[in-house]
């Protein structure tokens, strides 16, 4: 990390400077464009040398935490190591240069990877068909719920516009229901973290389109009565949607298809280790049971003999349609493909095992150190929740304060204040790629911060102290939005 402030790139700009070697040869000003359509004032872009740009963005990068530099125990985000080979082989020049509308004669290699990725994703999830086109988890959710709607519509079952979500669901679930023209209805969660089955039974009916569940849930525990939940929803005529945010927990142990789910999305940027890129891109492939297969979003890769080709609306006339201009985040999908091939069947099965081992170990150590688990009677899955309500009450130090102080200790903060059900919560997910020593170091930091909370609460409440900036004034940011840089008026 570097704490030295970095100028806004526009402040480095000098008229007439430029990265000349990167520019193309110039051409005559066009004489065929009507003056009314031409740009007058040039856009506000920086005028800097190549070195200026390289130094500026390299320094900016150094003002970030990242997996390559820090431990990221971010619950529900699965911040595991992103193997470098995945990047290297996805960025072979032929793959980078391939145009999305290039004929399949110039894409059999790429399409083979995509086809095999579809097949592997079917195998690990127990679903019958897969489309790779959604570009993020929420995009996959959209595709999934749209397919559920299309399924009901195809059966003339038109009253089904309610999507049930557990009270602890990720915000994208209800937002997706709205995007699909449905209404989200919350189902309460019992004190043990499982869905309240009686409430579910009372909620389902002829307007139920389906239910969206993560399993293990966002509370970090396995939904033990999943088969019963599936039966209740199916008997009411609804379908089951599996939010794959927590697929890492069960990889190789149990499959959503076997639990009775009709449609799932997979966050390839979580479970299959493609990078988060500071917010994206991800990939949100969807898998479906046989009854939803006709509705999959296009395009999909099909195989005829030894040749691969795109399947589009002509092959899937009931498809919900197209979700983007082309086929999705191909480069991300190639990275996931390389990752899955490097792990293979045994390596993928180990993912769930060691993610679970690490989470349970970390939970055990933290509890021994005096921290409170939100669900102490339950086995942790690949993640778990601590509640700091005792610390908040006794020392007025909140979960957010702990999270910010962890940054000073060199650990990225866990997920805070999600799920909202648990007061003062930290949702912690270590992933399988972290070593025991790293987990021990994290426990040590938490213990230290706990001591500081008792003796030097201000130190914790004012954290972080060692990062490029202290806590930021979010209220000012929202009340007086400064969203673009403006040159000083001379």
């Amino acid at each position: 990390m570097t704490n030295a402030a970095e100028q806004i790139i526009f402040e480095r700009s000098r008229p007439g400077r430029g990265a000349y070697s990167q520019w193309p040869e110039d051409s005559e000003p066009p004489d065929d464009l009507p003056p009314a359509l031409r740009r007058g004032r040039p856009p506000l872009l920086p005028e800097v040398s190549e070195l200026d740009a390289v130094r500026h963005f390299t320094r900016l990068s150094q003002r970030n935490f990242s997996i390559d530099t820090h431990f990221y125990p971010l619950g529900s985000c699965t911040m595991k190591y992103n193997p470098k080979a995945c990047n290297t082989y996805a960025m072979l020049p032929e793959f980078l240069g391939r145009h999305p509308l290039a004929p399949v004669s110039h894409g059999q290699g790429f399409l083979a990877c995509m086809y095999e990725l579809q097949e592997m994703l079917k195998a690990v999830t127990g679903m019958q068909a897969v489309s790779l086109s959604p570009m993020a988890g929420a995009h996959g959710e959209f595709a999934g719920v749209a397919m559920i709607r299309a399924y009901h519509a195809a059966r003339d079952d038109l009253a089904r516009d309610e999507i049930l979500v557990p009270a602890a669901a990720h915000g994208t679930n209800p937002a997706t229901a709205t995007m699909c023209g449905c209404v989200a209805r919350e189902i309460p969660v019992g004190p043990d973290g499982d869905v309240d089955v009686a409430a579910l039974r009372a909620a389902v009916g002829p307007t139920t389109a389906g239910i969206m569940l993560t399993n293990p849930s966002t509370l970090g525990v396995f939904e033990r009565r999943i088969e019963e939940v599936a039966r209740i929803v199916h008997e009411a005529g609804g379908l089951l949607y599996y939010d794959g945010a927590n697929l890492n927990a069960i990889l190789g142990k149990v499959r959503p298809g076997d639990m009775g789910f009709d449609v799932i999305h997979m966050n390839l940027h979580k479970t299959f280790s493609t990078p988060h890129g500071g917010g994206g891109p991800g990939a949100g492939a969807v898998g479906v049971s046989r009854r939803l297969a006709p509705f999959l979003p296009v395009p999909i890769v099909g195989r005829e003999g030894e040749r691969y080709r795109w399947l589009d609306e002509r092959d899937l006339p009931q498809s919900i349609g197209r979700l983007s201009a082309f086929m999705g985040n191909a480069g991300v999908l190639l990275r996931a493909y390389v990752y899955m091939r490097m792990l293979g069947r045994e390596g993928l099965a180990r993912v769930g095992e060691f993610a679970t081992l690490n989470a349970n170990y970390l939970l055990a150590r933290l509890r021994q150190a005096g921290f409170d688990a939100a669900y102490p009677q339950r086995r942790a899955s690949h993640e778990f929740i601590l509640t700091l309500k005792r610390q908040a009450r006794e020392f007025e130090v909140t979960a957010m304060d702990f999270a910010k102080r962890l940054l000073d200790y060199g650990y990225h903060a866990p997920t805070t204040y999600f799920p909202l059900l648990v007061p003062e919560c930290l949702l912690i997910e270590p992933t399988e790629t972290e070593s025991r020593e790293t987990l021990d170091g994290f426990v040590e930091a938490m213990v230290q911060i706990g001591r500081e909370a008792e003796t030097r609460a201000d130190l914790v409440k004012g954290a972080p102290h060692t990062l490029p900036v202290r806590r930021l004034d979010d209220v000012r940011a929202a009340r007086h939005p400064d969203l673009t840089w403006k040159p000083a008026v001379p």
Binding site: I8, W23, P100, M327, T433, P464, L467, D474
Partner: protein
């Protein structure tokens, strides 16, 4: 074990700390009936060296043809520094910048990106990216419905010369919420949308008009007249633009008297590789008054406890993690790294470099069209100015011709027959600054040969 650091001794001690006999025991809450024994259907593991060999062979099979394809994705030179920096682990493997103090690099890059995109499009505010250009159009349509409070119709007019995949994506995405997309015909001679085409809608409640400029044919639209007419008829204007073209063309914020209301487009031309269609990024800019109706992340500059400037995600109450079912969109993960690459690209290009890319791409396409139109039976389909793509009408069917060219490792353009059967045999071609005189000569030569061969067949 691949990417798992545990030694046997680690596992033993960790299980002891947990109080479990085996890793297997940690899964005891999962009903036994649901457990699987293995992952049949996934091949055996490959070592890095083996997967490298496989991927290299597959890449080689796809080759590196000489391409004149456009149609929404464009080949441009990408300075070496762009991806050298964007793939630094600190950008590549960072999480979404929710913890602002640990993400100042990404946040500042977004702030700089927002500044560049707002200026390039002539608007006041920008978000931090959407999935791609087509999904950005879908989001713009939904946003127009929210922003245009007086309009209750949810009707969006979309000319037929908007990229068909964009139109399909908008219907798939926004149609779910009841938005109605109505098609407007294009002028058969010019390929553009005539402003008179809007007259039949006068007096009706229309939420927005979409203008793609340059449109799918590469043709420039009469943006001033269209924008003014749409506004006079009470509709908002959604502009779909190519960012490279904006170095040369008037930005949407200056269209007509009041400018466009929402601007979206495909960011791929700004330093993002073609990569079979993704990851790219969609951009979106708008007026200040509509900022809170935008989907996606937005970064603002503020101060920290000590009064120092810093950056943070802001206006977050629009987003799903706070607003849940009432959010402006369900988008969460965006295309952050591509946006970072674009910010680096635009910094290296600057106003002059980007203008050169635009001018040269335009000039190369003019050269290409002139060279091909000299061949017998080939003529431009439309008589209006274009940017860096153009439609040629042929006397022979396009499919066999393109196959012949592809056999010689030339991707000769896009057969528009499937999208626009009314145009007959028509071919969409594109030449950017990446094409040399030699490339154009090679293409024209091969084209001529292929024409004769197809004619003879």
């Amino acid at each position: 074990m691949p990417f798992i650091p545990h030694t046997e001794e680690d596992v033993r001690q960790m299980l002891e700390a947990i109080g479990a006999q085996s890793i297997e025991e940690l899964f005891d809450e999962i009903p036994a009936t649901l457990r699987i024994r293995g992952l049949d259907g996934v091949p055996e593991a490959m070592r890095e060296q083996e997967i490298g060999r496989l991927m290299t062979a597959r890449a080689h099979a796809d080759g590196r043809p000489l391409s004149f394809l456009g149609g929404g994705a464009y080949e441009h030179h990408i300075p070496a520094a762009v991806w050298a920096i964007a793939t630094r682990g600190e950008f590549y493997s960072a999480y979404t910048p929710y913890q602002a103090e640990a993400s100042q690099g990404t946040l500042q890059a977004i702030y700089e990106f927002q500044t560049m995109m707002a200026s390039l499009t002539g608007m006041q505010v920008s978000n931090a990216s959407l999935y791609d250009g087509a999904s950005a159009l879908a989001e713009a349509a939904l946003m127009a419905v929210r922003a245009h409070r007086r309009s209750k119709s949810q009707r969006i007019l979309v000319p037929a010369n908007v990229h068909p995949h964009y139109r399909q994506t908008a219907v798939t995405t926004a149609g779910q919420q009841g938005l109605k997309f109505e098609s407007l015909p294009y002028d058969p001679r010019g390929g553009h949308l005539a402003a008179e085409g809007l007259v039949p809608y006068a007096g009706q409640d229309v939420t927005a008009l979409v203008i793609q400029h340059p449109n799918v044919f590469g043709v420039l639209e009469d943006v001033d007249a269209l924008t003014d007419r749409a506004h006079a008829q009470g509709a908002l204007v959604i502009a779909v633009v190519n960012p490279t073209s904006l170095a040369l063309l008037k930005p949407p914020g200056e269209w007509g008297t009041e400018g466009a209301d929402i601007v979206v487009g495909e960011g791929q031309p700004l330093g993002v590789p073609l990569s079979s269609g993704g990851p790219y990024f969609g951009f979106m800019t708008t007026r200040t008054e509509y900022a809170r109706q935008m989907p996606g992340r937005i970064v603002g500059r503020t101060v920290d406890l000590a009064g120092h400037a810093g950056f943070t995600l802001t206006l977050q109450a629009r987003e799903q993690h706070i607003r849940r079912g009432k959010a402006t969109s369900n988008i969460c993960t965006n295309q952050g790294l591509m946006m970072t690459a674009a910010t680096i690209y635009l910094s290296m290009m600057g106003p002059q470099g980007l203008a050169r890319v635009a001018r040269t791409s335009h000039a190369r396409t003019r050269d290409l069209v002139a060279a091909l139109a000299r061949l017998p039976g080939v003529r431009p389909a439309f008589d209006r100015p274009f940017f860096h793509e153009a439609v040629l009408r042929l006397e022979q069917p396009v499919g066999p011709l393109l196959e012949q060219l592809a056999a010689g490792d030339i991707l000769g353009g896009l057969d528009l027959g499937a999208w626009y059967p009314e145009l007959g045999s028509s071919l969409l071609v594109c030449a950017t600054e990446t094409k040399s005189d030699t490339d154009l000569e090679r293409y024209a030569g091969a084209f001529s040969t292929a024409l004769s061969a197809v004619r003879a067949a």
